[in-house]
């Protein structure tokens, strides 16, 4: 996570519905690479062709239930992160996407009550799990992240966690 997990972030909302699957986040025809800079131009291409051209650094994806369902491709959170998105807020996440996002350091917040319209200004305190929709004036709180996963954040993600453990073994 390189420390990013505990910062305050803000950006414009890109709003999607339920069951946004990894095939529409990054279609399989682009999976002959896992390079972030090659995936980002195709992010969300099959659900929102205007996304990749319109997204600005810091923007936030707000979605319904079961975000990231489908394939295990880590290319999906990689593409989202590389497109400049600072955070994904969803009513719920599919489990593999949830793990992948944490592992690559894409901040995600599960918030069953979240409500936003496209372009709303959203502010997020990742440490406190508080979401403020500055356009509607409403506040939301996200579900807490399990302790073990917080400890993964603290050491900077799964790669440094394993590095540390392998180092300790040798």
């Amino acid at each position: 996570m390189s420390g990013s997990a505990f910062e305050k972030i803000s950006g414009r909302a890109w709003v999607y519905g339920d069951n946004v699957d990894t095939d529409v986040i990054i279609p399989a025809r682009y999976l002959t690479t896992s390079a972030p800079e090659l995936l980002a131009p195709h992010c969300m291409e099959d659900i929102d062709p205007a996304f990749a051209g319109g997204v600005r650094p810091g923007d936030i994806i707000v979605a319904g239930g079961n975000f990231g369902c489908g394939s295990s491709r880590e290319h999906a959170p990689i593409a989202i992160k590389a497109s400049g998105v600072s955070c994904v807020i969803a009513m719920s996440f599919a489990r593999i996407f949830f793990r992948n996002a944490i592992n690559i350091g894409l901040p995600i917040l599960e918030c069953p009550e979240i409500a936003a319209a496209k372009g709303d200004e959203i502010e997020v305190d990742l440490k406190m799990g508080i979401i403020r929709n500055n356009t509607s004036g409403r506040d939301f709180s996200s579900n807490p992240i399990p302790e073990f996963l917080q400890s993964l954040f603290t050491v900077g993600g799964l790669v440094p966690y394993v590095r540390e453990r392998l180092g300790a073994q040798s």
Binding site: R29, T32, S72, R95, R99, L166
Partner: protein, 421 residues
Amino acid sequence: MSGSPKTLAEAIIAAHSNDNAVPGAICQVRVDFAFANDITGPPAAQEFKKMGGARVFDRERCAMILDHFTPNKDIASAVQSKQGREFARDQGMLFWEVGRVGVEHAFLPEQGLVLPGDIVIGADSHTCTYGALGALATGVGQTDLAAVWALGETWLRVPETIKVVYGGVPSKWVGGKDLIISLIGRIGVEGARYKSLEFHGSGIAALSMDDRFTMANMAIEAGGKCGLFPPDAKTLEYAESRKARDFTALYPDDGAGYSSVVELDAGLIEPTVALPHLPGNAKPAKECSDIVIDQVFIGSCTNGRSRDIGLAAEALRGKRVHDRVRLMVIPASYEVYHEALDKGWIKIFTEAGASVCTPTCGPCMGGHLGILAEGERCVSTSNRNFVGRMGHTKSEIILAGPLVAAASALTGRVTDPREVL
């Protein structure tokens, strides 16, 4: 290990962990088998190196399976396969070349490399297929998989379990695909999110192993972490005759705590399809007979096994695929391919006017060998009918079992097999 009665998922996690395996807890677990494919393997290898990994935790329990874009469809996929192959050879881990492998989730059980009671982690979402053997098998991304290769361990949140009871016995026109699509239609595509599905009942006891693989394969399409079949005589016969190592089958305890129970009557389930664009859009095939199609795909990790290919072949014997329809048949492994040769199924397909290809994931996720153009519609025995999954975003996929697929290939529209067979 003792304590309160456990579901099968809880029992398997408890047997692999020193942590208390109660629903919601995060447990560190020992992993019995870990693998990646040509899409996830090369980036997993990169992450493994970033982690400081020198050797995989056990080269007989780690595999690289190049199956998605193979035989390679273009230069980029050839480069990807080359990276995967080189890492596998350097590590001395399990690896098989094109022509000797198959679709990962058909191939690994055939080889006896994934077994009852195992925890299996794969960098592919359909890793849940091995739940048919009573293995807790689940998909992860490439970084998680790299960590398993390095440590031989991972973390799992102990899932709540939904008990699914199929009463009755399915008719001869109904198989695992119809049963699982009906369930997803009932509980929804996130009805089992983060949870384990545990299958019970006379309708399950009656099913072949191949039908059970089909059902476990699609647990993820209900959002499930896994779809588990407590082992019975069929499971043990399959595993004992193929095992590459010893195993200990595990079972749920009487009185285990289930988050809910879902009951279906297998005897009342009809040949069923899932309409675009969600696997939960279940509908009886006979109510969809006005839907005209352009292509049929019979294969994949869902329905590319012996029973699937055999049923489709017998349905097509001596008949011709509809003039307007392209039928792609792809046996999921060479074991299946050889059986299809021995039993004359390949000849039945080619004489019927089908294209038969070498084992590969092929068109399932829009890779190759049958991509759809704008406006085209395909009946597919695969597992996902998401927007753009097999090609253009304005193409459509209708999921079905092998009998509906074969019947539809004959008529050029979605067809209940009872109408033509």
